[in-house]
């Protein structure tokens, strides 16, 4: 598998008769920040959810950090993984959702330490110390004991990032992390993500923030109708797209 943190080969996914992913192949290197761009319905969120097996792929193969997603190979057979094994692998991958999905019955700190305490079985007192560090990293040291309902959207999303980081993941997935935020709150979340990228985290980001992609991404992948249309350096793809689909999309987004 070489250096690739993520490798996908001919990944296909159907919802009923609707083919959402029509054979996606790509590689994401360790420490790389990759942005998935494309119109809604292009399959980019579905692809992201396949990476941590929230969606099961229908054909093709995928590896994260050298481990096959969802299956174990033995000889010429692929055995589907049981829930416990899938859970163990998911613990290595952080995910941030469009709707934050914080646990509303737990405070910011409790949200952050939930994974370390329940999944990694770290002592609660130790997890609390790391939890405070994580909240400080996202600039919310003073909100540790607030419930999600007492936080703004931007603050909730930053807590969600801290919750993912607390598991010490080797790969972070972002599913349109700023799409449900008020415009003035987008910046604070992107700042945290920028900082994370600077720290060398491998990130796969589904986003509509072209500015962020241009500035932070090492590679952008443009998807449309379940197909990977073009990939490359963000400056060249965003400034000089070669495909008609990319040109049309960028013309609409950048106005």
């Amino acid at each position: 598998m070489g250096e690739a943190m993520l490798k996908a080969e001919e990944v296909r996914k159907n919802f009923g008769t609707n083919e959402v992913l029509k054979g996606i192949s790509l590689e994401i290197a360790r420490g790389e920040v990759a942005c998935l761009l494309g119109p809604s319905g292009s399959g980019k969120s579905t692809f992201l959810r396949c990476i941590n097996h929230l969606e099961k792929i229908d054909s093709g193969q995928m590896w994260v950090d050298g481990e096959r997603v969802g299956y174990r190979r033995s000889g010429s057979k692929l055995y589907e993984l049981k829930g416990r094994e899938t859970a163990r692998r998911r613990a290595e991958i952080g995910m941030v959702f469009q709707q934050f999905n914080l646990f509303p019955h737990r405070t910011a700190l409790e949200n952050v330490i939930e994974g370390p305490v329940v999944v990694k079985r770290i002592r609660r007192s130790d997890a609390v110390i790391t939890g405070h560090e994580m909240l400080d990293r996202v600039g919310l040291a003073d909100k540790a004991h607030h419930y999600p309902s007492q936080l703004s959207g931007g603050q909730q999303q930053r807590v969600a990032i801290a919750r993912a980081l607390a598991m010490n993941p080797s790969l972070m997935l972002f599913d349109e992390p700023t799409s449900s935020l008020d415009p003035e709150l987008v910046g604070e979340v992107l700042d945290v993500m920028r900082e994370l990228a600077r720290g060398g985290m491998t990130m796969v980001v589904v986003t509509h923030e072209m500015g962020f992609a241009r500035e932070v991404a090492d590679v952008v992948h443009f998807m449309a109708d379940g197909v990977l249309v073009e990939s490359g350096d963000p400056r060249s793809v965003l400034s000089n797209p070669t495909h008609e689909r990319t040109k049309n999309f960028l013309a609409k987004v950048l106005g």
Binding site: R89, P104, R137, A164
Partner: protein, 315 residues
């Protein structure tokens, strides 16, 4: 009425609250009704308040009350356990499990509780011996049904199995009310299905589950009186045993009713506190506190600069 002159706006203005004439009418009607009730309670000798006073704290009534409370508690606990199992089975992707759960609730909600109680009580007429073994093969364990089925065990079986069917629907509604995003977020940090259910989904579902469960508990308190038909000496049965001897039917029914009302009041108070507990995090106006042991542990590391980022990375 003419427009008010502009010059009146100078100086302090007095606010006259709106008059609620309707409320005063309602108050008058209610006072009259209360007076009528009090009058009949005081003047109608057939209430036999002396008899009520005599039996309210009498040993057979108190023992009956204790049995009612025990029966309510045991059957509700069993009913909730059955309900959670049914709800989880019903929502599981396994079609056999969900089908079985559907059949259970159809069967137990589809027959009268009274019939179910009598059925369990007279189970020996159908199965004189209960045996555990291989179908059509040898049996490993045998017991006479009459030894197993007493008025108490028939009451518990009948009430709990029936309650389970209703609780199953209540729990299912609660589980379905929790957004799927919660499950995904919990799975994404590596929780197993059981951890997701126990740590994330059930605690949130409780908010939805508690009010109807309070309802069910209060309902069960009174439904236990149905075991009168199989002769288990709970509160109503105890009262009926006395009035069948003394013919003081009305006063003894009032004795039982007073106890049911009193316990219902206690249960309503308990429900308020349970609801408040599971509502935490859902009322932004209320300032909540995290766990005390977390509060004392705000460490100095808070001053750590963002530069620690590179070291925090995985290997």
């Amino acid at each position: 009425m003419p427009e008010e002159p502009r010059e009146h706006t100078e100086g302090v203005l007095t606010v006259v609250p709106a008059r609620h004439t309707g409320r005063w009418v309602a108050v008058a009607v209610i006072i009259v009704l209360i007076a009528l009730v009090i009058q009949t309670l005081v003047t109608n000798p057939r209430f036999q308040w002396a008899v009520i006073g005599e039996f309210l704290f009498s040993p057979p009534i108190l023992q009956g009350l204790l049995k009612t409370l025990m029966l309510t508690a045991v059957t509700m606990v069993l009913g909730i356990v059955i309900g959670v199992v049914l709800a989880v089975a019903r929502l599981s992707p396994n079609p056999i499990l969900s089908g079985a759960a559907w059949f259970y609730s159809w069967f137990f909600r589809g027959t009268p509780l009274l019939v179910q109680l009598l059925f369990w009580y007279f189970l020996s007429a159908l199965f004189p011996v209960i045996a555990l073994g291989v179908p059509f093969g040898p049996s490993l364990f045998e017991v006479s049904t009459n030894e197993l089925i007493s008025p108490l065990s028939a009451a518990i079986l009948g009430l709990a199995l029936n309650e389970g069917a209703y609780m199953g629907e209540i729990v299912r509604a609660g589980l379905m009310a929790v957004s799927p995003g919660q499950t995904e977020a919990a799975e994404a940090i590596g929780m197993t299905r059981i951890q997701v259910m126990r740590r994330v989904v059930l605690p949130q579902a409780m908010r939805i589950i508690i009010p109807p469960t309070g309802n069910e508990t209060i309902g069960m308190l009174k439904n236990t009186s149905l075991v009168l038909v199989i002769g288990y000496a709970e509160l109503l049965t105890s009262a009926s045993l006395i009035y069948s001897r003394t013919f003081q039917t009305i006063p003894l029914l009032i004795v039982a009713a007073l106890w049911y009302l009193f316990v219902t009041a206690l249960l309503s108070i308990a429900q308020y506190y349970v609801e408040r507990h599971y509502g935490r995090g859902f009322h932004p106006a209320v300032q909540h506190k995290g766990r005390k042991r977390d509060l004392v542990k705000t460490p100095e590391i808070l001053v750590a600069p963002a530069e620690i980022l590179p070291e925090m990375r995985t290997h």
